[in-house]
Assembly symmetry: C2
Homo-oligomer: 217 residues x 2
DNA sequence: TAGATTGTTAATCGATTAACAATC
DNA sequence: TAGATTGTTAATCGATTAACAATC
């Protein structure tokens, strides 16, 4: 179970397995990699490799994996069991949606504080999260010891706010703005870009229609 | 410029180039692939291949690409120039944020209608988008001729609502729920999974801290 | 035992990167 | 011309898939 040795595509699939396993009825005690692969439309060997990388005990021939243990192993592997504190900058519609999203808790992330520059928002709370004046960030953020910064601002301010976060203990930026962020080693940036997703969908859709159109000839 | 022949990773990068080009000052007439690669921290040859796949005219040695033409070509290639209609199901916080998001327009997508089952929401509008009773979907959706369905509901109802959309002309599902959707050929599903992104960040962060920790020895 | 299932070693496939020839 | 830059052909790298041996 060497966490650093797993491939990126493999790591992307683990949360998918986990959420699928959680939908299984409580009566399902064991499940085979074959069954998981079939349910999710993936290659069987790939699933087996992924699961064996994340699972401590491994599966047993003819039985498969214990669902309960596998869930526990995946949660452990993905770090869902130890809570990581995050801060959020930019309480617009998207920022607000993320603040009120309940799902982060079970993934081991807690948004400890939010920041904005709008006096109408400062001082209020969304869910359990207090909205602070952005100018208080240098006071508040280091105290919290948060390492993840969620950036949901307009692209114009993104770089400056990113720099501000890095000065105050943030090590990884979850960037929901379209701006490209320049950061020093070894800071992590993860871009969440809806335009990219939309481009994929448009492209696939166009291709599909071409294909279906041609079949009529 | 064969759109169907581009690789998936390459396609993912095109919107990134496009948004970078749009940040350049109007005085910048031409830009080299080399410069783009340096600015975005990518491999130079990769950028050159990506751009030559999407650009009609190509770049000129010693000059590079015309910024204006390249933007036009990328927009054309990504289908931003012809508007695609979408519908959205589930006007919660995230759904509402997407409805009010202005950026989809320039990516060639228009959300033509939204649906929910909450009487408090039905009949209202967010941005330009009318919120309909979900029961009206079979009437409204086919009339619009929308092909993209944005799913922002709880995972429990996701599959049933997905099925409903497919019965009414939707060909591609943009799935923001954590549910795994079962769809027939040749329907497209694109999963937008925050848990996956978070897992990547957590993993990278943990790895970074291990690495930095070790260096102190 | 036979068969389902596991996990691993080897082959294939696709994307990235390096080397190079072409051109303004 | 020399040099920056392009686009392509070949080499490398990494991930997926296929084949197989191990095991309950």
């Amino acid at each position: 179970m060497d966490k650093s040795n797993i491939s990126k595509p493999s790591l992307r699939r683990l949360p998918v397995y986990l959420s699928y396993l959680k939908t299984l009825p409580a009566s399902t005690r064991t499940i085979s990699a074959t069954a998981v692969a079939a349910a999710l439309g993936l290659n069987e060997v790939q699933v087996r490799k992924d699961l064996s990388a994340a699972s401590s005990g491994g599966g047993r021939p003819k039985m498969g994996y214990s669902v309960k243990e596998l869930i526990a192993d995946l949660e452990e592997f993905l770090g869902y069991r130890n809570t990581k504190d995050a801060i959020l900058i930019g309480v617009g519609r998207l920022g607000g949606a993320l603040l009120s999203f309940k799902g982060f808790g079970e993934c081991g992330m807690r948004i400890a504080a939010a920041f904005d520059n709008d006096p109408m928002k400062i001082g209020r709370r969304i869910g359990d999260v207090q909205i602070h004046d952005i100018r208080e960030l240098p006071d508040v953020c280091p105290k919290l010891g948060a390492h993840i910064g969620i950036l949901t601002t307009s692209p114009e301010h993104a770089q400056a706010l990113c720099d501000l976060m890095l000065k105050n203990g943030i090590l990884a930026i979850w960037n929901f703005s379209t701006a490209h962020l320049e950061v020093p080693e070894p800071i992590i940036v993860h871009n969440e870009n809806l335009a990219v997703s939309l481009a994929m969908i448009s492209h696939d859709l166009e291709e599909m229609m071409d294909r279906e159109g041609k079949q009529e000839d």
